[in-house]
């Protein structure tokens, strides 16, 4: 008994294109608030069973992700779900299922941001980015999307107070001393700040999906989950406090850094205190997860299900990169030297000897060129490092597992 179409009786799913509950059989549409699953009142208290209880396994199942069995409300099939999954699709009958016991009463989220980016739009945004990628391996151009999953991620929306005393170091471009130090003490009131509440998905990944437009949050209705996967919150109070402290400190440090003269502000000493106020709210935010294989590694691309922001590091052909750098660099260096040599000859300088055409050319390409080369190469190394970090997140085994373990 899923949420059924009033006209034809088939299961409804939420369609981000029209932002309504949609019947794929007869084409009818309804507002989520207008319909309610008949199964809800019968299944609110239906417990999710452990594998042990169903199969009587004596073997300890180490895999957290497949430890529970839920019965499909339509066909009665046993669906394997993990510890915090709140909605899924039955692998037998294909109907959407909400694990009511994880989203009702005391565990019911306060808000939800429904999907407004469709699966097709998400894939189109991904392919546009992939087609523009620089030096992609051949496999990326013929990318075969393995899995696409729309998943609602749990968040706690917190209000917090942050107090800090810090000393900020900045770099000065002029003056006797390279560094200056500034003491700053203050407090910050943070309102409606989202903290990721899903333990499996790394904060590094979920943070990059931001920002979400919280003004578009709606009161929670489990019908929005139909057709998508979702997770309930599974973090502890300590984890929530730690995440809030870290984020609040980042924002405060960024603000006091701008308050100091000089460049590249950096906090070198600090003491802070962050307290989350007790009026925090629970919400679900949408994200598309797309997995593909490349260079023998699993890759997961994230797409913000509200704004369409794509988050991933696209792999590249490193051999080609080094070859291009070497060949292009040599040609540039020699070409510049030869051009300057010809120019100096035209000026009337002798070809060789002291103050000759060749020695003047060498002074530019070797002397000044060396300084430019070291500076630009150093900045290039930092850019590559940043890209490698993003690629590492894209190829994270945890994120891949988070997506792949959803049954279809």
């Amino acid at each position: 008994m899923a949420t059924l179409c009033r006209n034809c009786g088939h299961a409804l799913v939420f369609d981000p294109a029209i932002r309504k509950m949609h019947c794929t059989t007869c084409g009818s549409s309804f507002e989520a608030e207008e319909v309610e699953s008949a199964a809800k009142k019968y299944r609110e208290d239906e417990r999710v069973l452990t594998r042990d209880e169903v199969f009587g396994d004596d073997e300890v199942v180490e895999d957290f992700l497949e430890n529970y069995i839920y019965t499909c409300s339509e066909c009665g099939g046993e669906i394997a779900i993990h510890g915090s999954e709140a909605s899924t699709t039955c692998i037998y009958c294909g109907n959407p299922n909400v694990v009511f016991s994880r989203v009702v009463k005391g565990k019911m989220p306060d808000y939800i941001i429904p999907f407004s980016v469709t699966k097709e739009q998400a894939l189109s945004a991904i392919m546009q980015s992939v087609n523009k990628a620089f030096l992609p391996p051949k496999e990326v151009k013929k990318i075969r999307i393995d899995e696409v999953r729309g998943i609602y991620l749990p968040y706690w929306i917190v209000n917090a107070n942050h107090e800090e005393a810090a000393v900020v170091q900045t770099t000065m471009s002029t003056g006797a001393s390279k560094y200056r130090y500034y003491g700053r003490t203050g407090n910050m009131a943070l309102s409606a700040f989202p903290i990721d509440a899903c333990r499996i998905l790394s904060d590094d990944s979920s943070i990059r999906l931001e920002p979400f437009d919280l003004s578009k949050m709606k009161p929670f209705d489990e019908d929005y989950l139909l057709g998508f996967y979702s997770n309930a919150s599974d973090i502890t109070y300590d984890e929530l406090n730690l995440a809030a402290k870290k984020r609040a400190k980042e924002i405060f440090d960024e603000t006091i850094g701008r308050d100091c003269a000089g460049k590249r502000p950096k906090v070198v000493a600090e003491v802070h205190e962050t307290a989350i106020l007790p009026n925090y709210k629970y919400a679900m935010f949408p994200a598309w997860f797309v997995t593909f294989q490349c260079q023998g590694k699993p890759n997961t691309i994230l797409v913000n299900g509200q704004t369409g922001k794509v988050v991933c590091g696209i792999p590249w052909n490193d051999k080609k990169f080094w070859w291009l750098s070497a060949v292009g660099g040599v040609l540039l260096g020699w070409g510049l030297t030869a051009a300057l040599f010809m120019f100096n000859l035209a000026r009337g300088l002798p070809a060789t000897g002291k103050n000759s055409a060749i020695s003047e050319a060498a002074m530019v390409t070797v002397g000044f060129g060396y300084i430019a080369s070291v500076t630009i190469a150093f900045l290039g190394i930092m850019k590559r490092h940043s890209l490698k970090q993003q690629l590492k997140r894209t190829q994270s085994g945890n994120t891949f597992t988070f997506v792949k373990k959803r049954q279809e």
Binding site: Q169, D238, C260, G329
Partner: protein
């Protein structure tokens, strides 16, 4: 200029060129292949910051342990919050009833 010196010029100019091209290609690679590598900055969230004390151009010595920086943060360290706040501990976060 003898042959070795000419070779040296071309070798070093080639090396300089390599560094420049490497850096430029790395910039392009990062721009095209690194998508969405940013998260919400301070301006995107509702935060009200009040700075209650400023001390500019502090005289800092080499060893931070014995410098005004350490003394400053100690002297201005915030006190633990005494107003009601969210619980702590290893229990799973639940909505406040």
């Amino acid at each position: 200029m003898n042959g070795f010196q000419i070779f040296e010029v071309f070798f070093l100019s080639g090396l300089s060129g390599f560094g420049i091209v490497y850096g430029l290609l790395a910039f392009r690679l990062e721009k095209r292949n690194n998508l969405g590598d940013s998260h919400g900055q301070a301006g995107l969230y509702s935060s009200s910051v009040t700075i209650t004390d400023r001390q500019d151009k502090m005289p800092i010595g080499v060893n931070l342990d014995k410098t005004p920086a350490y003394q400053y943060v100690e002297a201005h360290a915030p006190k633990k919050a005494t107003y009601p706040k969210a619980p702590e501990g290893n229990e799973q976060v639940r909505k406040q009833q």
